[in-house]
């Protein structure tokens, strides 16, 4: 198949950027979207032009490195699918495909389609962990956890940290990412001791980088792991509680 790409090209941070158009003939419909970009990049190189910078690694939808806006949609048209798992058969022959980096002030562009997502790491550093030094853990079966609780925690824990939720949000809010990490830990018995400190610290850090949530639910739609916005309700609840509860009475739940 033949496709035409309009790709955002930008030399570096805080540099002007622009769309450039590339005609990509003879692409197999079995190629993945990133393999199509590989082919285009090899052709650009041989044509003495700089290849398009984009992030990717595992190419099986789990590392969270890849991600771009494809025709205005984060990770493209296929639901529950990261860019690396999208295949060209999802496009028609002759299609024009517009490719942009994640668009969010919290994710500054570094080059072409590569953005800086380190704000996500800052949110986790603020409290997205359970304090347990290596070696101090009790036997793993000491605390039974209802299967439903463990499963709900896992539903949130599957987040790959790709940033599609932020990119898809009209406000560039990071509620879904933050809520997924909070819910992963706050739904487990192990996470209770630091539950409210965690909620407060993570949400406050999030707000220093990202916009506010106004319930558009675009994040859920864009999430390659289909994480539910229900977790955002949990985040809001824990955050409000964190603001008024008395930490010294933590055992009185």
């Amino acid at each position: 198949m033949d496709v035409t790409l309009r790709v955002w090209r930008q030399d570096g941070p805080n540099r002007p950027g622009a769309f450039e158009e590339y005609f990509a003939p003879g692409i197999s419909s079995h190629a993945s979207f990133l393999e199509m970009l590989d082919i285009v990049n090899d052709r650009l190189t041989l044509d003495n032009r700089e290849p398009i910078a984009f992030e990717h690694d595992c190419r099986e939808g789990i590392c969270g490195a890849c991600g771009m806006m494809i025709n205005g949609q984060a990770h493209g048209p296929q639901q529950g699918t990261a860019t690396c798992q999208l295949h060209m058969r999802k496009f028609r022959d002759g299609a024009v495909i517009i490719i942009e980096p994640w668009r969010a002030a919290g994710f500054p562009v570094l080059k072409d389609l590569v953005v800086d997502r380190s704000a996500f790491d800052r949110i986790v550093e603020a409290g997205g962990y359970i304090t347990v030094d290596t070696g101090s853990a009790p036997d793993a079966n000491l605390v039974p956890i209802a299967q439903e609780a463990a499963e709900a925690s896992m539903d949130a824990a599957v987040c790959i940290g790709c940033g599609a939720c932020v990119a898809a949000c009209p406000n560039s809010a990071a509620q879904l990412f933050t809520a997924a990490k909070l819910a992963h830990l706050n739904l487990l018995p192990q996470g209770q001791a630091e539950r409210y400190i965690r909620a407060e610290a993570m949400v406050d850090t999030m707000e220093s980088f990202f916009g506010s949530c106004t319930n558009h639910a675009e994040c859920e739609e864009a999430c390659p792991k289909n994480i539910s916005i229900d977790f955002i309700a949990l985040l809001n609840r824990d955050y409000i509680k964190a603001k008024w509860r008395n930490g010294r009475l933590a055992a009185q739940r």
């Binding site: 190189t45 690694d57 190419r59 359970i130």
Partner: protein, 638 residues
């Protein structure tokens, strides 16, 4: 050269305890005086850095990713082994030790493997306390599944994303230390060389991948946790950025490289669809529990799978291995599939796969049960191939997956360069010639959480009161100059072929001659072809852009450059090892019925290779493996 593995004296089960007691410690108040560099933040690296941070050491981590959370450990699907014996099915440290030694075809070190089994339970405790959401029974206690190569059920799992969840646990522990200030984390920063002075590892030279700035970092000790080298084959299940540069640079600086030819080919991957294929996708081994593997009985069968009648199908694993059937270990299953495809019976448009058929399972269990067990895998398969595995059989073929070989380390996980440690897949230590499923996560976390943070104290304690070498010293400046020269050489070539073209060509050679079946003739050919290709690469590679900004092609080129040399060593090692064992299959060494034939009399040793200079042949040192506790037997799955 003499190799001292520093295996402690005493009974197998007491070695680790007595070793910890007898090695010097660093007092809590002194730990902040020591600086440790950790390269790589996958399971092993993140676990080690977090733990050393908790202990009070000053740690710096480096990763080429944008975040510490992305290392390829994240892609591990199936699970993690531990000898908890929660199932009361006869498991024990000794049994896990025995299974691992046997599964590795008796080419690993008893003391290391036993210690691995001993700490395996603590890993599960630690991960659970961190909030890793392992699968649970209705009663709320942890669930287990069984995995290849074991008769007990000892594998803990978090859906099909165990690696992801364990890595996030380690990443979060690391994040806590970063916030606490004990760990300084450098992301988008790639280690390009190691600095050795006065015979010790004193630091590293790194490149900031955004600005291209080359800088030096010094420390009391350096830990390499940089994973394996399966991408030498180009097409593998590894992530695209996985590379052997750190361990190869360490090798060139004096680190012996052990068993490079021991690579694992995983039997259940989706076959390549075309020339442009950039990597191969693994499908969990668990599919073999219910899927039946077959090829058409006739060469060049043209009919679609559904039209091939039952009596014209060859269920070759069930036929050849009636006792284990479709559940034979990875190396055996892979070789059997290759044999069928090589004989022209391959399935699919490129005749490069074998069928994995669920029709019988769907008939027996119903579609709903099959969907409940494998739904996510079927969906993944359909996404990639556009074929519905409920309707037509899957096509699978083996792909390079894991490398058992790596830097030689002693019992303390120190390489032959004092002060330089290697942990996780980057070292060679625990899996012998073949790794069992669900053991990679176990080893990476054992090394990172429990072993290295203990053993490193002995080395550090020697330099109490001594500052790390200044990076202004000539030793560092020289390495910086070398690194810049290497990069400039790549940038200046301005040839006519892309980096990927060369990488693919290299991969073809290595796959053909040092893949699933190896022969003296093929390996000799590869050993002459690889250096020629390398020469062509330096003369004719084309890299656009500059070195002083984000340049992904340049990054890739540096890694491929090192793969040429590593691949050559793989072939040399494979040529030298005149036996078939584990993942290493030499066509000259087979039993009368075509099975792998080990040669314990002559090859019960670890091959440890020294770098002797560019263009010079590497030299071999043998670490003889002493088996005091297990008896060497022939693996049979018939």
């Amino acid at each position: 050269m003499q190799l001292d593995a520093k295996i402690p004296e005493g009974a197998l089960s007491e070695k680790w305890d007595s070793h910890r007691f007898s090695t010097p410690l660093v007092a809590p108040s002194n730990r902040r005086k020591f600086e440790v560099i950790v390269i790589g933040t996958g399971l092993a690296g993140a676990a080690a850095a977090a733990t050393m941070g908790e202990l009070g050491y000053r740690v710096r981590t480096f990763t080429y990713h944008d975040s510490n959370r992305r290392a390829h450990s994240i892609a591990a699907q199936g699970g993690i082994n531990a000898s908890k014996n929660y199932r009361n099915d006869g498991d024990s440290d000794y049994r896990l030790f025995y299974d691992t030694i046997k599964g590795g075809d008796y080419r690993s070190r008893e003391a290391n493997v036993y210690r691995l089994a001993q700490v395996s339970g603590e890993i599960i405790d630690q991960a659970t306390a961190q909030g890793v959401p392992f699968g649970r029974e209705y009663g709320g206690l942890l669930a287990n599944r069984s995995f290849g190569g074991a008769q007990v059920s000892r594998t803990f799992y978090a859906r099909g994303q165990t690696g992801q969840q364990l890595l996030l646990g380690a990443y979060q522990a690391l994040a806590r230390q970063i916030k606490a200030g004990t760990v300084n984390a450098y992301t988008r920063c790639e280690m390009l060389d190691i600095v050795v002075a006065d015979g010790r590892a004193v630091g590293v030279v790194v490149r900031d991948m955004l600005t291209g700035e080359i800088s030096s970092h010094s420390a009391h000790a350096v830990v390499l946790a940089t994973g394996g080298y399966s991408n030498a084959y180009f097409l593998s299940t590894n992530a695209k950025a996985c590379n052997g540069t750190a361990i190869w640079r360490a090798h060139r600086k004096g680190g012996l490289f052990a068993n490079p030819c021991f690579t694992q080919i995983h039997p259940t991957c989706i076959p390549a669809a075309d020339e442009f294929q950039s990597k191969l996708t693994l499908m969990s081994e668990s599919l073999r529990n219910d899927g039946r593997i077959w090829v058409p009985a006739e060469v060049d069968e043209a009919r679609p799978a559904a039209d091939v009648p039952e009596d014209q199908r060859d269920y070759f694993l069930e036929r050849r291995y009636p006792a284990f059937g479709n559940l034979v270990p990875r190396d055996v299953a892979s070789r059997a599939a290759k044999k069928e495809v090589d004989s022209g019976k391959g399935a699919g448009p490129m005749k490069n796969g074998v069928y994995l058929d669920f029709a019988e399972a769907i008939g027996r269990l119903g579609r709903d049960t099959v969907e409940a067990r494998y739904g996510n895998l079927f969906e993944m398969y359909q996404r990639i191939t556009d074929e519905d595995p409920y309707q037509v059989p899957m096509r699978i073929y083996p792909a390079p997956h894991y490398t058992m070989g790596g830097l030689w380390v002693d019992y303390n996980l120190m390489t032959t360069v004092p002060g330089l440690y290697s942990i996780g897949e980057a070292n060679f230590s625990d899996h012998g010639a073949n790794r069992l499923g669900a053991s990679a996560l176990m080893q990476a976390l054992a090394d990172g959480y429990f072993i290295l943070p203990n053993t490193i104290a002995a080395y550090l304690s020697e330099s109490l009161g001594v500052d790390p070498m200044s990076t202004a010293e000539p030793a560092f400046k020289q390495v910086e100059t070398d690194v810049i020269k290497r990069m400039d050489r790549l940038l200046d070539a301005n040839g006519s072929r892309t980096v990927d073209w060369f990488h693919r060509e290299l991969g073809k050679i290595v796959w053909e001659h040092c893949g699933m079946a190896r022969s003296a003739e093929g390996l000799t050919k590869a050993i002459s072809e690889i250096p020629a290709l390398k020469e062509e690469f330096f003369a004719d590679v084309k890299i656009m852009g500059e070195g002083d900004s984000l340049n992904q092609t340049l990054e890739k080129a540096g890694r491929v450059a090192d793969y040429f040399e590593l691949a050559e060593l793989m072939c040399r090692d494979a040529l030298h090892r005149e036996e078939s064992c584990g993942g290493h299959f030499r066509v000259e060494h087979v039993t009368d019925d075509g099975e792998a034939k080990r040669n314990d009399d002559e090859f019960t040793f670890v091959s440890a290779w020294s770098f002797e200079g560019d263009g010079a042949e590497p030299s071999l040192t043998k670490e003889i493996l002493e088996f005091e506790n297990v008896e060497l037997t022939t693996r049979s799955y018939k």
